[in-house]
């Protein structure tokens, strides 16, 4: 067990150093890079979709295809759980 724990600790240390170094060198919190797509969505949501909620308009209208994929994932998970616990009728 000692070899396995040594390798695990080494891997965790390397990953921790990489993550902390990346977190310290990101852009300052509160000033992201300029987004043209987001600015267009903020300016034109109420006329094009008629909704007052920006996030719902993005989820169901501007990016509705991703919501279709997410509904499929949820359906597959429910089907898998019911399949694992079925009872064979003898």
């Amino acid at each position: 067990m000692n070899k396995r724990e040594y390798l695990g600790a080494l891997f965790l240390t390397i990953v921790a150093v990489i993550f902390i170094f990346s977190a310290l060198s990101m852009h300052p919190f509160g000033s992201p890079t300029e987004g043209d797509m987001d600015q267009y969505i903020i300016d034109n949501t109420v006329e094009e979709t008629g909704a007052n909620n920006g996030v719902t308009a993005v989820v169901f209208d501007y990016r509705g295809f991703d919501t279709l994929g997410e509904a499929t994932v949820l359906f597959t998970a429910v089907a898998g759980v019911i399949l694992i616990f079925r009872r064979l009728k003898k």
Binding site: T49, G50, A51, T56, V59, A71, L74, F75, F85, R87
Partner: protein, 156 residues
């Protein structure tokens, strides 16, 4: 699992309609306030989970079958795809918003801060479809897992 004492059952009876109404409010006003189909569906599924814990899984499984839950979930998914395909017939592209600005069912554009339910195009229809799917799906997961851990087991 067995149910709990009569005090818990009375309090669960009292608070379940309020949780149901709050969840349906969050689903229906998804295009005006923060919320929508997924969030409201999670709230209603939590309320149903409260009833499952208070009354025991055998009492609940005599009244709600897995067959009905599976049917409700499939109906929700089919309604979502149906609204998307109607976008091809009436609008020209997949998922197009063909009800905005025409004044039929959910047309109307809210101007400068007014909150009107009669707006949003196809967004409220999709909210209802996804809400039904999430309610049936999450409660089916909870019910199947509660039934699988009973004491007498004749599993695979």
């Amino acid at each position: 699992m067995k149910g709990m004492s009569i005090i818990v059952k009375t309090i669960a009876n009292f608070t379940f309609p309020f949780i149901l109404i709050y969840g349906l409010y969050v689903i229906a006003h998804g295009h005006l306030t923060p919320g929508g189909g997924f969030q409201g569906g999670a709230v209603v599924a939590s309320g149903l989970g409260l009833m499952l814990v208070a009354y025991g899984s055998e009492w609940i499984s005599k009244r709600i079958k897995e067959h009905d839950l599976s049917l409700l979930e499939s109906l929700g998914a089919l309604a979502f795809i149906g609204v998307a395909f109607c976008g091809i017939i009436f609008g020209g592209v997949f998922f197009s918003n063909f009800l905005v600005g025409t004044g039929n069912l959910f047309g109307g554009i809210p101007l400068n801060g007014a909150a009107d339910i009669n707006s949003g195009g196809t967004l409220p229809l999709m909210n209802f479809a996804v809400g039904m799917k999430v309610i049936a799906g999450l409660f089916a997961i909870i019910l199947v897992m509660a039934l699988a851990t009973l004491k007498k087991e004749d599993a695979i």
